[in-house]
């Protein structure tokens, strides 16, 4: 099997030139390209999925979307602003990938609960995002680590629809 021309060229040049950089393995070159595509791909997937309109492309998310789109939060955050880990690019990508994989699995199996509630392990993430914006106004509140803003503000922003 012939290698793609660009790979062959780099390979041949590296082999003939005898310079300090000696890249001989087509596998390594392939991996570099794969990583480039992976990073680029992750970025474009991140972009494609960042709007709330993507989340509501599954019908089961309509109540969540509809309530949010009638809330004050609509003006400042999309779904991901509260439901993904916003600390940095890596954590955001990781939390989106994990949630996406889980949603896809549940959706494919058709085992969608009649009332969609946030998973308990994800409440800490949302809490972190509440404080990302509202931390200043709440700086004088001492709360146990397991207490959440949403323990009381239970209709923010998704209304009374569960």
């Amino acid at each position: 099997m012939k290698l793609p021309s660009i790979v062959r060229q780099v390979h041949l040049q590296a082999g003939n030139g005898g310079g300090r950089l000696r890249i001989r393995s087509p596998l390594l070159i392939g991996a570099v390209i794969a990583i480039t595509f992976l990073v680029g791909g992750v970025h474009s997937v991140n972009s494609a999925t960042k709007e709330a309109s993507f989340c509501v492309s599954c019908h089961v998310m309509e109540p969540a979307y509809g309530t949010w789109s009638h809330s004050a939060h609509r003006e400042v955050v999309d779904c991901g602003g509260c439901h993904s880990d916003q600390r940095n690019y890596l954590t955001k990508t990781y939390s989106k990938a994990m949630a996406g994989a889980k949603h896809m699995y549940v959706y494919a199996l058709g085992d969608i609960p009649p009332r969609i509630r946030i998973a308990k392990e994800n409440t800490a993430l949302v809490q972190q995002n509440c404080l990302r914006c509202h931390g200043e106004v709440a700086r004088n509140l001492q709360m146990d680590a397991d207490r959440r803003c949403t323990d009381c503000h239970r209709f923010t922003p998704h209304g009374n629809i569960r």
């Binding site: 990781y94 972190q128 931390g135 004088n140």
Partner: protein
Amino acid sequence: MVKQKLVLVMVVMLALGLLAAGCGFQSKQPIAFRADIPAGTLAAEEFGKFYPKQYDGYKKTAEMANKPSKYGGSEEYDKLTQWPFLKEMFAGFGFAIEYNEDRGHIYSLEDVKKIKRINDNSISSCWTCKSADAPGLIKEMGDAYYKTNFHQLKDRVNHPITCANCHEPQTMNLVITQPPLRDALKRQGKDPDKLTRQELRSYVCAQCHVEYYFAGDNKVVTFPWDKGLTPDDILAYFDEKNFSDWIHPKSGNGQIKVQHPEFEHFQGSAHQAAGLACADCHMPYQVVGGEKISSHWITSPLKHIKESCMTCHRQDPEWLKERVFYTQDKTARMMERAGEVTVEAINAIAEAAKAGAEPALLEEARKLQRHAQFYVDWVAAENSMGFHNPQLSMDTLGKSLDLAHQAKQKALEAGNNQK
């Protein structure tokens, strides 16, 4: 070789990525300290210099208004006029002399000094929940504090309930200062210094808003919690100790005066089971000057339904208030009926005794009446007219009514079996 390295690099990258995602999770919230108030500071004014917003709220406890409350309130009106059965039940005891609706924390010292229940022989146990000075005095004097004459310590008691009753001045952390609660918790196997914030947001109130009695010769203020916190548990505790606050002159019956078991009564209620503390409704978060603080205007939540109820319950405030009254109206009606039959039982026992009834049967009637009175007084003394725990209120009143009828029946039976 290269392939192995590549795999290694990718594994390391993945591991680092996972590590970055999982580590450094900050769930602790920022807290703004403003002061390092010296340990032992008791005066609210001193705390107020550094925490003016909270102090403003505390000072509002001086405001007196019954409305919009229907049954409680913070004006000093006569409960014996409001509920005539109480005067009959408490005959021969201080509570039949003067028994008023309580006012705000800021008045605690003023009110304990003027109430007619205090006489020349009153003891210092009565200062315990009225002043921030009490914990220090108990530390200094030990158990001897409690039976010291009330008037002897008058000059040593200078502050009402203040910030210092619940806050550690240097950190403003919540702290349990009252020895009776510390002791009760230790007997339950709990460390009073290792409670969570949310537990403390109720336990600081439970320093006083509980049932208690004066135990032993030293008259030590003691919480009867060793069997549990339900009315049944606490009655069983008193029965086992054969404890009575006084002998009712008409029935000749040893009675218990229930104090104000708000904390105990709240246990098991829908709101408590949902994880709420006293402070969540009575000290709701409010935004003052661009930051959220706990309201320190400790009063009926009906006075600030928007902050207290509507954060969770998005209904109309008038509707919410009517729901509270729905519970309270029914509790009040049932309480009055249970109280009346309890008084009828007292009268039946008195008449049977006068007629020379069979003593064993009469004792049975007395025991039933003592229990009926304890249960109705539990609801009457608890400050919420049932709302802190509607189901427990009705359960308790049901027991009272049943026992009161049984007591009447037994007294009639005793009267018919004269010696």
